[in-house]
């Protein structure tokens, strides 16, 4: 083949691509309501895994304020001096990478009388009978290793001089572990289901699209269109469906987040800290759009390939 011929072929190929591109757009636009409905279905199918993902992401972030679950209460021996206690607390903070809150015997007594509500009892003590107490919370631990870390730290603390008793609230830890396992199981079930849903919805849409245009395909086949020429507009359609579906999903996601922001903030205020709901972010959104387009393309490809087979002639038997 001469260079000129090759160049001509490439140009012809480009023109065919352009034709397919515009033809697919034209089809989508000429069936406006149908396109809209398909995109709606796709958007809903896609918003669910996204919503799940964002929820888990936010839950993980909430978990991080784990004073709730993972605080270890350390009772020091009676009569420890303030200086020594502060040094010890500093050492824990540095060596074991943990937040330490010290509670002096006086603070303890105040709290005790406040909680128990019998202030008059205090007067009966000539000397404060309470020890120094340290509340120790590990910092920057990954959620998965959290239980382990707390148990470790507890054991270490027990071995230190001047420590009378170490109390780890395992009840809450067990709950957390159960909750996380449950969440993981949920994520597995739902992710499998939704991935299936997205693939099936796109493949089914393109399948019905192809079926409703089977006459067109058969005519194209008869007037000499190659498989790629026939396939192309459907692949573009699939791409558009996927892209627009992903776009709608992002829209729905952000709307939902907006709607959920108030009760979420309220809930988190009750937990005593303010919290910004995290979305997908710009890069995440771009990725979702891309994934939508690619998924649509793939779904269309699967459907069309299956369908085109019926126009295929058997090939002649190969001779060796």
């Amino acid at each position: 083949m001469s260079l000129r011929q090759i160049r001509r072929k490439i140009r012809a190929w480009g023109r065919r691509q352009l034709y397919s591109f515009f033809s697919s757009l034209g089809t989508l636009l000429s069936h406006r309501l149908g396109t809209l409905m398909t995109i709606l279905v796709l958007g809903i199918a896609m918003v669910l895994p996204l919503g799940l993902y964002v929820s888990v992401k936010n839950l993980r972030a909430i978990d991080l304020e784990r004073e709730e679950w993972g605080t270890i209460t350390v009772f020091l021996q009676l009569g420890a001096g303030e200086e020594k206690v502060k040094t010890f607390a500093g050492r824990i903070g540095q060596e074991r990478n943990a937040d330490v809150v010290t509670v002096s015997p006086e603070q303890g007594m105040e709290e005790f009388s406040a909680v128990s509500g019998f202030g008059q009892a205090i007067d009966m003590f000539e000397e404060n009978p309470l020890p120094w107490v340290l509340q120790v919370t590990p910092r920057q631990v990954e959620n998965e290793k959290f239980e382990e870390t707390v148990a470790d730290l507890g054991a270490w603390l027990e071995g230190q001089d001047g420590v009378d008793l170490v109390q780890v609230d395992y009840k809450w830890l067990k709950r957390l572990a159960g909750l996380l396992e449950l969440g993981d199981a949920f994520v597995t079930v739902l992710t499998v289901m939704f991935s299936l849903a997205v693939v099936v919805v796109i493949a089914n849409t393109i399948r019905l699209d192809v079926a409703s245009r089977s006459d067109e395909i058969s005519v194209l086949n008869m007037v000499g269109a190659g498989n790629s020429f026939i396939r192309q507009p459907f692949l573009y359609s699939g791409f558009w469906y996927g892209l627009l579906g992903a776009f709608l999903a992002l829209l729905l996601l952000n709307l939902s987040m907006f709607y959920l922001q108030r009760p979420l903030t309220q809930l988190l205020d009750a937990y005593g800290n303010t919290f910004e709901v995290m979305g997908l972010g710009g890069r995440g959104s771009l990725l979702v759009l891309l994934a939508g387009g690619v998924l649509g393309f793939l779904g269309a490809w699967l459907s069309v390939r299956r369908y085109l087979r019926q126009f295929r002639l058997e090939d002649p038997p190969r001779r060796s």
Binding site: A12, R15, R16, S30, D215, V219, L220, M222, V223, P316
Partner: protein, 229 residues
């Protein structure tokens, strides 16, 4: 251009549409194909277009042995053949212009060239005024002529026509046959399946006669007078 050697075609359901058919068309020849309804005319044309494969025998089109051509090369063969279908086969969601331009789109031609050629083809069949209509808005004869325009727009070296005058009045039928002869004079090989014996006789060309799947007669141009219903 086209050679059939002992070709048989058997459809599922034990229908022997063609049996042991042999003939040869030279490049530049113009031949009519006739026979009763169900004789196998359309089947023969579909075999040439590689829309079906022969059950037995050998078909050579344009120096290519179709029996040994893999199906992925079928589009390339079809692109060099213009076919007028018995039932038009127009795309109802494309305008007349777009329908006629299909073969050129498939070839990847430049749009200005496409435009020129499509309008020329539509002019030849007298439908230039309908270029923006939809097929469903056309009369039966007009649809058939759009099919003719699509078949000739790519200037293929081989033109197949399956009952191209079924929906045309006598005048238009004659015009169309004259158009075929013009194309033939320009070197196009033409094979027309038709029931219109009067017109075939008037054209004075070679005639192949099918009956129940067998080629029962091959009448040379000089002897066409003996064609009887």
């Amino acid at each position: 251009m086209v050679t059939f050697e002992h070709v048989s075609k058997r459809y599922s359901g034990n229908v022997n549409a063609l049996q042991d058919v042999s003939f040869h068309l030279d490049p530049g020849e113009m031949v009519f194909l006739t026979g009763h309804s169900g004789a196998g005319k359309s089947t023969l044309l579909r075999l040439i277009l590689m829309l079906e494969r022969a059950t037995r025998g050998q078909i050579v089109v344009d120096k290519r042995n179709l029996g040994k051509t893999p199906s992925r090369l079928a589009p390339r063969i079809r692109q060099r053949i213009g076919m007028i279908f018995q039932d038009h086969k127009l795309l109802s969601d494309k305008t007349v212009f777009d329908n006629v331009s299909l073969p050129l789109m498939i070839a990847g031609m430049r749009y200005p060239d496409i435009r020129k050629r499509v309008r020329a083809a539509l002019d030849k069949v007298g439908l230039l005024s309908k270029e923006k209509s939809w097929p469903l808005m056309l009369s039966g004869g007009e649809q058939q002529r759009v099919g003719v325009a699509r078949a000739i727009v790519g200037m293929p070296p081989l033109l197949l026509a399956d009952e191209p005058t079924g929906n045309l009045d006598p005048e238009l039928s004659e015009d169309l046959f004259v158009l075929f002869r013009q194309l033939n004079a320009q070197g196009v090989t033409v094979l027309v399946a038709s029931h219109d014996l009067a017109l075939i006789r008037a054209m004075g060309q070679r005639v192949l006669v099918l009956s129940h799947g067998r080629l029962v007669d091959d009448i040379p141009a000089c002897d066409v007078g003996r064609l009887r219903p």
